[in-house]
């Protein structure tokens, strides 16, 4: 299975579940889906995936999380996995952190909540296309 993984990270369960379903409904079995409620959990999952030899394709992440904030997390990810499509999905984010991300990170997009399904899909698609 060379299916790549879509990773959703949000501390709000209601967002996380509905987001994952949304993406799964669209992308179906094309991808594998993982969810995490915090950056720390996400790191664990990423480690597991590495162990299992699975790659990540897309990370959709919230900014306001307990512990490490979304922007920091995505920066980290970007360092290690520059090609992963990174979407910061958030109700608020500090402007300077966003700017930093935009500057430094590849494949990074900011999507405010509430979001349109179409917008999200498009961003992801665009991102994936870029990778090719």
């Amino acid at each position: 299975m060379d299916r790549k993984v879509i990773l959703c990270i949000d501390d709000e369960a209601i967002i996380l579940e509905s987001l994952r379903e949304q993406l799964e409904k669209y992308f179906g079995d094309e991808y594998l889906y993982e969810t995490a409620e915090s950056a720390e959990e996400a790191f664990e999952i990423i480690d597991d995936l590495e162990d299992e030899g699975k790659d990540m394709a897309i990370i959709v992440c919230d900014w306001l999380m307990p512990g490490m904030k979304g922007d920091q997390f995505l920066l980290r990810i970007d360092l290690k996995y520059p090609r992963v499509v990174k979407v910061l999905l958030t109700g608020q984010a500090k402007q300077d952190s966003v700017d930093t991300l935009e500057e430094l990170a590849d494949q990074f997009t900011l999507l405010p909540k509430p979001w349109n399904k179409e917008d999200l899909i498009n961003i992801i698609k665009t991102g994936l296309k870029e990778n090719e």
Binding site: I14, Q22, K25, M65, G91, K113, P114, W115, K117
Partner: protein, 977 residues
Amino acid sequence: MRFRIPSIKSFSGNIILTVFIALALFSYGVFLLTKQVKTNLTEQYTKCLVVKTSWIQSTIFKKLESAILVSDIPGENNNSHLSNAIGLCHFEISDNQIQITKDDTHFHSSPEKLKVINYFLNNTPIINNRVYYSLKEFEHFYYFVAFKNSKDSADKITGTMAISQASVDSVLLYLIDQNLSIIQSAIVIPDTILFSSGSSTCLENEISCASLSNKTQHFFNCKDKRKLFWVRASLANEIQLILVFKSIRIYSNPILYLISSFILLLLGIVLFPVIERRKYQHQIGEINEVIEHISQKEFNNLLSEEYPGKLGTLTRSLNKMSSQLKEMYHDLEIRVIRRTSEISMRNAELRKKQREILQQNQELKSAYEALKESQEKYEQLIEHLEDEYFFYSIAHSGILLFVSPSVKKILGYEVKEYRNIHDQIYTDNPMNKNALECEENLKLGIAQPKFFKEVYDNKRDEKFLEVSEVPIFNDDGQLVSIEGLAHDITERQKAEELIKEQEEKYRMLFTHASDFIFLYKINRENNKVGNFIEANRYTLNKLGYTLEELREMNPLNLLSNEMDSEEENQVNEMAINDSKFERIWESKDGQPINVEISAHALTIKDKEVAIAVARDITARKKAEEEIRFVNEELVNQKENLESLVDNLTETQEQLVQSEKMAALGQLIAGIAHEINTPLGAIKASIGNMLDSLNTALNELPDLFQKQSIEDLSLFNIIFENAQQSSKVELSSREKRQKRRELSSVFNEQQIPDAELVADALVYLEIYDASNDLILNLKKTDALKVVRSARNFISIKKNTNTINLAVEKATKVVFALKKYAHRDAMGEKVSTDITDSIETVLTLYQNQLKQGIEIVRNYGKLPLIQCYQDEISQVWTNLIQNAIQAMNLEGILTITTKQKGDTIEVSFKDNGPGVEPDIRDKIFEPFYTTKKQGEGSGLGLDIVKKIIEKHNGAIELESKMGEGANFIIILPLGIEQK
């Protein structure tokens, strides 16, 4: 008159003799008494017999005459002791001289003692090797002497002598046997006994003088020939006691003498007069009779001539005398009568004369009194004049002929003195020039009027004299003298000068005063003010009028304003009476002058005038105006300030409100996010639901058609599980774990697409692979089935999500609503404190989520009356501050508890803490530790004010580096207690 019985005095011869004898006897008796001769031998004797041999008691002993006894040496070898001891001494005699060799220092030595010792030494016989006692007299004292001497080879006699002063009661005792050998001897001094020891030879010389026998009394002579007697008494043991006494002679008994003297006295005083009296009684009786007759003036009852002897002669002569007397008496009577009538005539004449004289007396008296009165008057006048006037007469040559003595009173000079100096006592007063001129003229005979002189008196004081001098001419027309009368008018002069001085003063005052002073007429009848009479210079200057002009005006003309009649009356009233008032005058050139007038009415020489003093108060008025103006301005300023203060207060309130809004504003972003999040979830969920439904609808025919039993049973399991909706929501981690487990199980069971199936089952909330399940899964197209089921379940789940999201959003909105809700009425509401804190926390959820952990220690709190809105603001500010202090990362511990009748709410952060020196400052308005623009600084001030409004308190505990703990204490309110 009677003859009295002769008194004692008449027998004076006999009586005196008797008394004398009596006294003599008496005194002798006393003398003997003092010699203490005692009586009653027998008594003594009997007492002495009581004495025993063993020791001797002293009773009353007689004084001893000397007796010599021979015995052994006393003193050293027995227990005798000498009281009253004079001395115990050793002596030696050589060349007939006795010398004391050793004087025992036991005894006190004194010159007297030595004298005594020497005497005895020299007067005591030397009897070798004998000791004897002696009772000797020396200088009126008796001494016991114990003496022993011995002769040695060299013819030197040495000896020992003990001398003791004998008291009057001491006695020698001897104990003798039948053979007159003395067994023992003793000298008895009261309380003391001197013993000799043992055997001795018999009494020599003296005792052998007498022959002892058994008689109880014996007399024997001693050396001095006075009688002693001794008594011998027999006692037991055949030892006989001899007591030697001094004898008593009966005629030495003092009592005898005393008694006899008394008797004699008695005889003399009583007996003799009585005897004598008897003798004369008869004779005296007769005399008394005679006297009685005479005393009754009964000359007719002539005395009897029977009286014998001298008495008869007496009576005869008395009789003769009485008849003679009778005759004489008659003669006298006649004469007296005659005389009396003469005298009475004379008396009448004399009385008449006396009356006349009395009358004359009266007249004289009244005349005298009148004279006296006028004399007094004259004297007074002269005195008075003398005090003031003296007159004199000066000759043509200038010599003073005469001057009245009153010159002394006035000028102090004696008459003589004045004569000499009368023209030399002028002072330097220029007036004297005129005086001298006048005098010159007078000398020429020209009469002069009165003139004045000033002279020195004797004390060199100036005296002012008014002099009136007149030239006197003789018949030929020549000037004889000048008669002068000088009147001392010094006092008057002085008074005049004083008045002048005062006048001058007032004039000065009037002229030079820098106030208006003026006089004006007043008319009391019609209450009107008259014209000016006088005005001082100041008035004239200030007003610009001349005095003549003023005299044509009255003070009312000066007033600057017109007055109606009533006012005029008033002013007139004031100006006429004593008053003080203010007016505005106009000077001649129209200048207004404010004046304060003080007027006073008086009468000068029957004319009614008023004097007024007015002060220019223009300046004062001006000053008053200015002050008034300044005052008004101040009042204005005060009003301005007050309104300013009001403004400020309003502004402050606005600031508070804006603070609140600012706080709120800060939250908005967070709140928006808090709402957006649910919205996002809702949106996604709805999308999901739609998709699921679509898919489910599409698959429905398929579903209806080919469903195997196994499929159905699988469905059953799934849907059964789905019904149990009360399952605990697992975390994504846990879900993943479960998925892995299921996946590995399914892989084992060789179920295709194990992971996907596991994934789907986890979605369907089936976490455990029961055998039943596994069986079913094996039998069916597991993935397809579970995925189909998923569509339906998806709807449920998404619906759930939407519900949750809505709930969340609602909560936030509600919180916001609650927060922004204004207590329009401003009333206290029953509030749940915990709830209000939670509300604020909800609003801050977003910020807190960024890294702040909330630890809640909520105690059970009752409802409390408070301004809900404002209390929320308190929590808001404190939570805000805590968040900012911790910089969005840390632990905020909120504790609530009920303490008695208060509620305690504390917010503890673990930020850097609050520095000690700003702990009070931070509650001050506009104090902030943030950079400019980042905070109004009102937060804690508002909190404090709100808490105070609730009668609560706020405390701050902080340890640097550990954080700050704000503690709010709110009282429950009376209803809650």
